[in-house]
Symmetry: C2
Subunit: 149 residues, 2 copies
């Protein structure tokens, strides 16, 4: 059944401008980046600044293709890989990234954010307001191998 | 510059099987749904059950096209609309949905989840583990018009 599903075509709404130029395993919590939105869509950013945090969905254009089904997550010490959907690896069947960032400023079609781990030049697909009631699960359980220490 | 960005083509990884058949403004917190993953990708679900919550990214195939740039969010009482990117409206330039759900079961290429507000037949684009450290911002500020009461 799944194989009959038609492909999905998306048109990026904008582009990331970031000091992050190459793939590397680093913490982006302090990184300040801009997102340049298609000026034709600028009006869609109205009211966004009323939210402290927003969700950026982007296309990780430098990911490996075809994507592996098993990957080695950053902090896992065991030598066995895990399923790609149980990881946040950028190498995945549809290379979409999802990052919750702090919204600092908006000027017309440009927003400035903190904490975006997307590379410079990354196409942005969607922006959504972060709503704790539906987006935050502070007590979600994660396996030991996903923790840093 | 944005206009030169190439379109992005995605191939759904699976399909939602849900009791939700039509668009309506309802709370899906108690809804139990299945996601049938392309059997060729089933191995990518390994280890997923080690997480209590997962993030589903899907394509809202019944959304209005072309999308409006201003929308009327569910709980907003003021008569003025807000920018679409400041809303979670399914009618948006790229109709991607993002829902954090509780993972109940996984059997081979099928997972059972609770809290998915996607309609029956919705193409699923990506599944990611929910990691509170990066996905939860419990104290994120939202505007008054976004709250229920």
């Amino acid at each position: 059944m799944e194989n009959k599903l038609p492909d999905i075509h998306l048109k990026p709404i904008g582009t990331v401008r970031s000091p992050l130029k190459e793939r590397e395993r680093r913490d982006a919590a302090e990184v300040i980046a801009e997102i340049i939105i298609d000026p034709a869509l600028a009006e869609g950013l109205d009211n966004l600044i009323e939210f402290s945090h927003i969700i950026i969905i982007y296309y990780m254009h430098k990911s490996s293709k075809p994507a592996p089904l098993k990957v080695y997550p950053k902090y896992r010490t065991e030598p066995t890989p895990v399923g790609v959907f149980a990881s946040r690896s950028p190498d995945r069947p549809n290379a979409l990234g999802k990052t919750t960032v702090k919204l600092l400023e908006r000027h017309e079609n440009v927003i400035k954010v903190q904490g975006l781990d997307a590379l410079d030049g990354t196409p942005v697909i969607d922006i959504k307001p972060c709503i704790p009631d539906i987006d935050s699960v502070p007590d979600a359980r994660i396996p030991k191998w996903m923790t840093k220490t």
